[in-house]
Amino acid sequence: MANEPIVDFEAIKNDLTNVPKPIQVLNESAEVTDQEVFDSFSDDDLVEFMKKMVWERALHEQTMNFSRQGRMGFYAPTEGEEASEMGTVLAMKKQDYLLPAYRDVPQLIQHGATVTEAYLWSRGHVIGNKFKARSLMPQIIIGAAYNEAAGVAMGIKKNKEEDAIAFTYTGDGGTSQGDSYEGMNFAGAFQVPALFIVQNNGFAISTPRKKQTAAPTLAQKAVAAGIPSVQVDGMDILACYAVAKAARDYITAGNGPVMIETLTYRYGAHSSAGDDPKRYRTKEDTQPWFDKDPLIRLRKVLEDKGLWSDEQEDKMVEEYKASFKDSIKEADKVAPDKVSDMLKRTFEIPTPEMRKEIEKFVEKESK
C-alpha cells in the first residue's frame, strides 16, 4: 500500500484561498488603481457619487439623533456602508425590483420610497410599507429575500421585461442561512435576472465574519450555485457602482444571475436598540476601517480636482438634515395605525370572526 493519500485534501483546501483581489478603482489613499474605469466617470458623476454618500451619512446622523430623542422605532445604523449601499443602488433602474434587508433603507429611499415613509416603517406603521417604489419592505429574516428574489426575477423574465432585474441584499450573517443558498441555486437553475449582493460588514450583530463560515470568501458561496461572483472593495463607491453596473448589464443580456460581495464595515452598533460594539470588537479592529472611509477617499479626489469644498459639503449636510426634519414632522402628522384597519387588511374577504372583531375595535377606537 502506498503511503500517498489518493486525494490531497489539504491542497484542495489551500486552493480555496487562491482568490483574486477584491475589485477596486480608488484605494485607501485616494489613488486611482484602475485608470480605465476611473476615466469612464465624468466630473459630474464623481460629484453625484459624493453627494449620495454625504446624503446617506447625513441621513444616518439625523436618524440617530431622532433615535436618541426616542422618535424612531427599529433603526439599523448605516455609517461606514455608504459606498456599498449607494454604489450598488445607483446601478439600479426604476423598473428593477428591490428586495432590501433591514439595513438597506437608504437604497429603498433612492429607489423611490420617501424619507417620511422610511421613518414610518421604522416606527411600525403600515404607511411605511405603502411606498410606490417597485420594492418589498426591508426584510427582517436574513435569508428570505434571496428566495423571493429568485421568484421576482422569474416573474420579470416571464413578463418579458428585458431591461429589468431583481436586486437583493443580505449581510455576511445572511449567507449562513440556508435560504440564501436556496435562492441563489434556484436563480441559477432557472437562469433568471437576479443580482444577489452580500454586504459583508464584518459582524452579524456580535458574531464575526470568521465564525460564519470556513469559506475564505463569501463570494465563493455562489460558486456552488453555478453563479459568477466577485468581491469588491465596499469602501470604494466607484468600484461598487462599476461592478453592480457591469453585473446588471451582464444579467440583462440574458446571462442569468450574479452575486457580489462588498467588503465594508459597520462603524456603529447593529441596531439602535442597544447592542454595544465595544463588547465584541476593539478599537484596533475598527480603526483601520475608519481609515478606509469611503467619504474621505472620494472627497480627496474631488478636492484635488477643485470640485468639492468643506463649505459646500457643510451646506449640503445642513440642507439634507433640514429636509429630514421636515420628513419626520410629516411622519408625526400621520395618525396611528388602527387595529380595525389591521384586521381589515389581513384577508381580502374578512372571515366571519374577523368581521365581529372589526366591529368591536371600530367601537373601541371611536371612544
Partner: protein, 325 residues
C-alpha cells in the same frame, strides 16, 4: 359527469385553472414530466408546456420563496410540497412571508399562492410523509387552510382556492387519493371557501369532522341509523377560518356534539371548534363536548399507524357515550 377519484378531481381542477388563466403556474418537485409522485399533475406539462408546469430544485423554502416572488410580479402560483412533512422547511416562507403580504402592504401588494400538499396517514409511508400538520398552519392570520374530504369538494374547493387572492394551504388526504370516487361534473364549478357543509342531516347528535374522518363519521351515522339514532355530520372543508355558524345551528337542533380529527389532540382544529362552541353555543348543549383524536404522540411509524388513527369504532363509542350522558 363522470366517476372520478379524489386525485382525478384535483387534476381536473388544475387543468381548468391552467386553461382559464394564463397567469397560473404549477411547480414543485417532480410535477413536470413525472406528473408528480402521485400523478396529480399528470399530463399538464405536456398540455401547457414547461413555462407553465415545471420541476424545481429539491428545496421547499426555495419553492415557496419562488411562489412569493412570482405572486408579487403578477403570477398566480400553485406550488406543490411533495409531502406535508417537508413543509417544515418552508415555514418561514409560508407563515412569515407569504401569509403576511396583504397585511404588510395594506393590500397594495399581494401574492395569491395556493400551496398544494398531500398529508394524512393510513398508507404506511416513511416517516415525515403522513403527519397531519394543519394545526401548525391554522394559527396563521392571512392563510386559509382547506382540507377536502371527497372528490367533488376537492375539485370545487381547489378552483376556489386558486381564484382567491390570498394564500391558501390546500391539504390533500393521501389515503383518499385513490380510495374513493364521486360523480364529478365536467368543466368548471366551485365550492365556497370558509363554509362548512352539512353532509348528512340528523337530529340526535352532531359530528364535526374534516378530511378522511368525515367518511369515517358517515359510516358511523349509517350504522347508528339502523338503531334509529339520527346523526348530523358536518364537514368543515375549510379548517381555518372555522365556520362556527353552521356548527352552532346544528347544535341548537341536536344539543350534542362530537368533534373528530385525525391529528393529535393537542391544540388543533378540534380544540378550536370546542372552544368556539364553548363561547358561542354552550347553552344549547345538554352533554359535554365529545372529542375523538389521535393521541399526543409523535406521528407513528408505519406498523402502528392503523391503531393510532381514530376510526369509525372509536367515533361510534364516543357518540354513544355522549348520547347516553
Amino acid at each position: 359527469m363522470a366517476k372520478k377519484t379524489y386525485i382525478q378531481a384535483i387534476t381536473d381542477a388544475l387543468d381548468i385553472v391552467l386553461e382559464d388563466d394564463p397567469k397560473t403556474l404549477i411547480f414543485g418537485e417532480d410535477v413536470g414530466k413525472n406528473g408528480g409522485v402521485f400523478r396529480t399533475t399528470q399530463g399538464l406539462q405536456e398540455k401547457y408546456g414547461e413555462d407553465r408546469v415545471f420541476d424545481t430544485p429539491l428545496a421547499e423554502s426555495g419553492i415557496l420563496g419562488l411562489a412569493t416572488g412570482l405572486g408579487l410580479t403578477g403570477w398566480r402560483p400553485i406550488p406543490e410540497i411533495q409531502f406535508m412533512g417537508f413543509s417544515f422547511e418552508a415555514v418561514d416562507q409560508i407563515v412569515g412571508q407569504e401569509a403576511r403580504m396583504r397585511f404588510r402592504f395594506d393590500g397594495t401588494k399581494t401574492s395569491p399562492v395556493t400551496i398544494r400538499t398531500p398529508y394524512g396517514g393510513g398508507t404506511h409511508t416513511a416517516e415525515m410523509h403522513a403527519d397531519n400538520l394543519e394545526s401548525y398552519f391554522t394559527g396563521t392570520p392571512g392563510l386559509r387552510v382547506v382540507m377536502p374530504s371527497n372528490p367533488y369538494d376537492a375539485k370545487g374547493l381547489l378552483i376556489s382556492s386558486v381564484e382567491n387572492n390570498d394564500p391558501v394551504l390546500f391539504m390533500e388526504n393521501l389515503k383518499l387519493y385513490r380510495s374513493m370516487k364521486d360523480d364529478i361534473p365536467d368543466g368548471k364549478y366551485t365550492v365556497p371557501l370558509d363554509k362548512a357543509n352539512v353532509v348528512r342531516e340528523g337530529s340526535d347528535i352532531t359530528i364535526v369532522a374534516y378530511g378522511a374522518e368525515v367518511n369515517e363519521s358517515i359510516k358511523v351515522a349509517d350504522k347508528l341509523a339502523e338503531d334509529n339514532i339520527s346523526v348530523e355530520v358536518i364537514d368543515l372543508r375549510t379548517v381555518s377560518p372555522i365556520d362556527s355558524e353552521t356548527i352552532f345551528k346544528s347544535i341548537e337542533k341536536t344539543h350534542k356534539v362530537v368533534i373528530v380529527q385525525e391529528a393529535q389532540k393537542m391544540a388543533g382544529v378540534g380544540a378550536q371548534v370546542a372552544s368556539a362552541i364553548s363561547e358561542g353555543a354552550v347553552l344549547s348543549l345538554d352533554a359535554p363536548v365529545g372529542r375523538v383524536a389521535a393521541p399526543n404522540s409523535v406521528y407513528p411509524f408505519a406498523q402502528s399507524e392503523d391503531y393510532w388513527i381514530p376510526g369509525a369504532d372509536e367515533i361510534e363509542e364516543k357518540v354513544k357515550e355522549i348520547l347516553n350522558y
